[in-house]
């Protein structure tokens, strides 16, 4: 019987074997009723209920938050009822003119794109060296690149902002870009190093033996192989930079505020802040912008790869 049910997966084979043991007097007892191998109980276990309850609660909050902001930004008066009395897009128009959103969005995109380009140009060659080479003080260099990610942004952000102000760069676009490069370059290095390690060095060696210079190797061998990794790292840096609050906030001024920072300033401005619906409208603009980036991103990368390279687990359970 077990032999007939052993299917391709190891898991099922294991279950089948256990099934046989269970009948054997020496075999371990199992609390579950005897079922055919690979067959699942229809009643969900308490663990499953817990898991689904957790997920549902999380999404209730998540969508509650997103929908509240959306409805709020479209509603005229909304205080004590389920839904606003009228719907309008007036808040968007008002937010657009009052905060000069065009300027803010342009600033945000300029900062983000510059940071992405610079951190990839600087980070990828460094990641290559760290992935391929051994040299004295390598560990020290690794620590140097890990620290900006581990230390809270405010800790190095405040001294960094002080330095920026001393150099007369305070509240400028340059300062915002420079400050955002601090965590971004190490981030590119750390995500790209394992990626480069995966590439077979024999390919580069072959190119080198055929007389290619390092520049040619980079342009014609590595770059095409690295495109998926560079895209993933670039998009992550883009998302991080657009969403980066702490560091940008410390050095930016009225002309160099990114979208998140302007929303925060609007929420906390003196005199109780701007009217809530205006802020919600800005929030929706921000979310829409992020969603566009996210949708583009997901065409290229798998979300679980954001944090580590994953090999697809075997088809079990």
């Amino acid at each position: 019987m077990a032999a007939s049910t052993i299917v391709d997966s190891t898991e099922n084979a294991a279950l089948g074997a256990e099934h046989v043991f269970a009948k054997h007097p020496k075999g371990p007892k199992r609390g579950k009723p005897n079922r055919l191998p690979g067959e699942k109980s229809l009643a969900a276990s308490p663990g499953t209920w817990f898991v689904w309850a957790g997920i549902v609660a999380f999404f209730v909050f998540l969508f509650g938050i997103i929908l509240s902001v959306l409805v709020d930004s479209l509603g005229k008066p909304w205080f004590t009822t389920w839904l606003p009395e009228h719907f309008t897009v007036g808040w968007y128009q008002e937010a657009w003119t009052r905060f000069d959103l065009t300027h803010i969005i342009v600033v945000t995109l300029v900062v983000a794109v510059t940071v992405v380009v610079v951190s990839i140009l600087v980070g990828v060659p460094a990641a290559y060296v760290l992935a391929r080479r051994n040299f004295p003080l390598k560990r020290l260099v690794m620590v140097l690149f890990l620290l900006p990610i581990l230390i809270p942004p405010i800790t190095f952000g405040i001294p960094l902002a002080t330095v920026m102000y001393n150099f007369g760069l305070g509240r400028t676009l340059t300062a915002v870009i420079l400050v955002n490069l601090v965590p971004s370059i190490p981030f590119v290095i750390i995500t790209m190093t394992p990626f480069i390690e995966q590439i077979n060095p024999a390919i580069e060696n072959a190119a080198r033996m055929s007389g290619a210079t390092m520049r040619q190797i980079f342009a014609r061998i590595l770059a095409p192989l690295l495109v998926p990794g560079i895209l993933a790292a670039g998009i992550l840096v883009l998302v991080r930079t657009v969403g980066m609050f702490d560091l940008t906030f410390l050095v930016s001024g009225p002309q160099s505020d990114t979208l998140v920072v302007s929303i925060y300033r609007a929420m906390t401005s003196a005199g109780g802040g701007e009217s809530r619906q205006l802020i919600s409208a800005m929030g929706v603009v921000y979310t829409a912008m992020m969603l566009v980036i996210l949708i583009i991103a997901l065409r290229f990368i798998n979300p679980t790869q954001l944090v580590a390279q994953v090999k697809e687990s075997r088809d079990d359970e």
Binding site: E11, P28, L147, T155, R276, T304
Partner: protein, 310 residues
């Protein structure tokens, strides 16, 4: 990037120094590392050292108030309860938030590790809060969980509660915001660690007759533990430097007066750069203490090639 010399290795005998250096791993390829190192030194190490230097140059007013000469800022940090309590306030928020995120993620990552329809969709949804960011989460929580918000409305209409719950502008609000932004991150990390553990190990344990509890406690958990420690550290770092949410959905005057907020106050509102740097540096120290404790615990855990990236 200027590595032309590398393609003509060791051609002339006069290059003996270069040769000897190359044998020790130093050659022109290392130039590719230089821009990144310069950025790190100029934008991270230099400001950091400068900041540490600032901490021992207190303003005259601080010296007069707290004494202690050049260490007046540190004395103020430890003696002024308004400042020093922020350490505990931060810990009371960040440690439970990181623990909740990790502990809740474990069963969920376990249940969802197989293949099923809509897995990619679910993972996509989980990435959403990362893009929302703390400021937006705060604004949404204020509306959704506020006194007039949908959450209280549903609970009141179904008769579960009679008075609206106070869920924002206090500790709970900040905790919500930390879990919403930290949980997806913890889940994605843990599920990627989990997928790095070879399923045949568990299958083998199953063949040998281990039930799920034994399989979890004696096979999977020990392999996963280093990854859990790493996840805890990363979510802790995220939660530790909360500042927009502590200001916006919290009670910034009292219950959620976190260190980042105090540092920013000294920096932006009081223009006391040296005190701001002191709080910032102490914040780094406090965080590193927790990380060091976790890493120390982690060093007792299993290390080896399991495929689990611990």
């Amino acid at each position: 990037m200027s590595t032309g010399a590398n393609t003509l290795p060791r051609r002339r005998s006069s290059a003996s120094l270069r040769h000897r250096l190359a044998e020790r791993g130093i050659d022109s390829q290392l130039w590719m590392l230089v821009p990144a190192v310069i950025f790190a030194l100029a934008l991270f190490i230099y400001p950091f050292i400068y900041g540490v230097g600032l901490t021992v140059q207190p303003l005259p007013g601080m010296q007069k108030q707290w004494g202690g000469g050049i260490f007046a800022n540190y004395i103020a940090f430890f003696k002024d309860p308004f400042v020093f309590d922020s350490v505990w306030i931060t810990m009371r928020l960040a440690i439970p938030a990181a623990l909740i995120n990790v502990l809740v993620s474990i069963p969920i990552a376990f249940k969802l590790r197989g293949k099923f329809r809509g897995k990619r969709f679910l993972s996509t949804l989980l990435v959403l809060p990362i893009t929302l960011g703390t400021v937006l989460t705060a604004q949404g929580l204020l509306i959704f969980a506020g006194r007039q918000g949908w959450l209280n409305r549903i609970l009141m209409d179904t008769g579960i509660i009679h008075e609206p719950l106070q869920l924002v502008n206090n500790y709970v609000g900040v905790m919500f915001s930390l879990v919403i932004s930290g949980f997806p991150f913890a889940y994605l990390l843990i599920s990627s660690y989990l997928s790095g553990i070879d399923p045949s190990l568990e299958a083998a344990a199953r063949t040998l007759g281990a039930n799920w509890r034994q399989r979890f406690a004696r096979v999977t958990l020990p392999l996963l533990a280093p990854g859990l420690a790493t996840t805890f550290i990363l979510t802790f770092v995220l939660a530790f430097s909360v500042f927009p949410s502590a200001r916006l959905v919290g009670d910034p005057g009292d219950a959620t007066r976190v260190m980042a907020l105090m540092a920013y106050r000294a920096f932006g509102e009081q223009q006391n750069y040296s005190m701001a740097s002191t709080i910032a540096v102490m914040m780094g120290v406090a965080e590193l203490v927790i990380i060091a404790v976790v890493l120390l615990g982690r060093s007792f855990l299993y290390k080896g090639s399991t495929g689990g990236k611990g």
